[in-house]
């Protein structure tokens, strides 16, 4: 068994096994021994498997596969619609359990969280693995979710230990020390490296770096040179990132307040339930999305200076669409103002072909405590007062309490959207 030196940090990455499916199984004990998947709504094109329980995975079902294919592999499959709010609640319940062991807990995604137990470990256990085991059983007992823990002295190694070893370990716990790297991680193919997608894996292979070890052992200067030849001189930082990942070098802290940082952009994108081909119809959705984005900006106290609109064509085989941005005259978070600029972009760049996805985002955010008075736009104060009221109503009674009349047309998506989180039903 590996153990960390006492002078080092002790970081854990806790990962929940088949998170959505495990939550549903805990909530539906009658399905305990049946293969179960959580899958999006097939009628709205989001009919893919979001999570499969270990029994379903045993039947060959994989995450992100189409529901139809999954049912073909396993006809007695239990299919459950996602309940996103529930998963957020359980994830936060798990955060609270982690927080009884250390105040340094950083959620990384809905089912992965970092814990820094350096200072508190001695209060609970003799070793980090014993502690991980305690946390694991507490989470299991409280939520029915099985957690796996990668343990190491840095966040990158904890993540690596979890993804590559803890998940395959019967105990679900694995400690990875720097000394172990040559015998373990470095022998693995570069495709197993964190942040290396299929494209990057191909590039590394072409560069003659097929294993994580070969990346780690290339001197940084040389790796930078090799990557510059492929990606130009702006690739130095990327080279250093991969080199550090391969060597397990990472001084990032576990930061509980990490989600409080001001966002750089606010955006929203939607996959439409059918193809939209008429400008008026697309504009309805664009307005609804502008409203959502502006509302979020107002809630955060920001105005945006740049607005960008993106569309994706309906035909997968011949991809069309655009993504363009424009700087507005003055920063704003007033729906109608931002919408008029977004419309300009749409009218200028849309090629007239049916679209499947549309999104809007705003960037260059500034605080909304001061704004430029306009000599010509006298409606601003009025719009602001109106939106303050509609925002307050929505916060209190839900998104669908007040909406624009166009949302009631056939093209409108706001009513459906208000029942969703992350594109899936609450």
């Amino acid at each position: 068994m590996a153990s960390l030196k006492s002078s080092n940090r002790v970081i854990m990455l806790g990962d929940c096994q088949s998170f959505y499916a495990s939550v549903e199984k805990a909530d539906h004990p009658e399905y305990k021994d049946r293969p179960l998947v959580v899958a999006g709504d097939p009628e709205r094109r989001s009919g893919i498997v979001l999570a499969a329980c270990p029994l379903a995975k045993g039947k060959g079902i994989t995450t992100a596969e189409r529901l139809g294919e999954a049912l073909a592999k396993c006809p007695d499959l239990v299919v459950i619609k996602p309940r996103m709010q529930k998963y957020i609640d359980v994830s936060m319940q798990i955060t609270e359990i982690y927080k009884t062991f250390t105040d340094l807990v950083e959620p990384y995604s809905i089912d992965e969280q970092f814990l820094d137990v350096t200072g508190s470990m001695h209060l609970f256990a003799e070793s980090s693995e014993e502690l991980a085991n305690m946390i694991q059983s507490q989470v299991q007992e409280a939520t029915g979710v099985y957690t796996r823990f990668g343990i190491a002295e840095t966040k990158i190694l904890a993540k690596t230990a979890c993804d590559n070893y803890a998940k395959k370990n019967p105990s679900g716990i694995y400690t990875l020390t720097k000394e172990m790297l040559p015998e373990t991680l470095w022998k693995r193919p570069v495709s197993d490296m964190f942040m290396a997608g299929s494209k990057m894996t191909r590039h590394f292979t072409v560069m003659g770096l097929p294993t994580i070890g070969s990346v780690a052992q290339t001197p940084l200067g040389k790796l930078k040179q090799m990557m510059r030849r492929k990606f130009g001189k702006n690739s130095d930082i990327k080279a250093e990132m991969y080199w550090r990942i391969a060597n397990g070098i990472d001084d990032s802290p576990v930061r509980p307040g990490t989600h409080q940082v001001a966002p750089k952009s606010v955006g929203h994108m939607i996959t439409l339930p059918r193809d939209y081909a008429k400008l008026e119809e697309i504009k309805v959705v664009l307005l609804e999305q502008t409203e959502l984005v502006c509302q979020r900006c107002r809630g955060l106290g920001f105005m945006a200076h740049v607005v960008s609109v993106g569309c994706m064509g309906a035909d997968f085989d011949r991809p069309t669409g655009f993504s363009r941005q424009i700087k507005m005259e003055d920063p704003s978070n007033i729906t109608n103002q931002v919408y008029s600029w977004a419309c300009r972009l749409l009218e200028m760049y849309w090629d007239g072909l049916p679209i499947r996805r549309i999104g809007i985002s705003v960037t260059q955010l500034t605080t909304d405590t001061e704004y430029q008075l306009s000599l010509f736009d006298t409606r601003r104060e009025k719009s602001m007062a109106l939106e303050r009221v509609t925002d307050a109503l929505k916060n209190k009674y839900g998104e669908s309490i007040v909406m624009r009349a166009v949302s009631k047309t056939e093209a409108g998506q706001a009513i459906d959207r208000s029942a969703k989180i992350g594109g899936h039903y609450k």
Binding site: M84, F114, I237, K238, R244, D250, Q260, I421, G422
Partner: protein
Amino acid sequence: MTRKLLDGNGLWESSRMMLPEHKYAINRKQHEEGRKNKPILDGQEIELIETALVESFHEHRSVTVQIFDEYQDVNFTGIVTVIHTYRREIKLSISSGEWEWIKIEDIISVS
């Protein structure tokens, strides 16, 4: 790609997948956890605060007043120019032309 990726928590902040609703709920919870009750001041402490305010008023000495807030206390530095004994309020001149009316019961320390 910017240098930020390699500094601080950059690698993790740029690679994470968080639902906006989840983030919002986390921040809201942390905000609520930061909420605190107003401390109960000892009689002697209240006397010290009142003396410091009166001194500032008479001698035009600048003081820093800490005002209780459920989430984050606020500090003001200035000279006490009016003491309203009946309404139990003071006027603190922060700079020329700028002042703040402060309820004495909201003050938790003066230095």
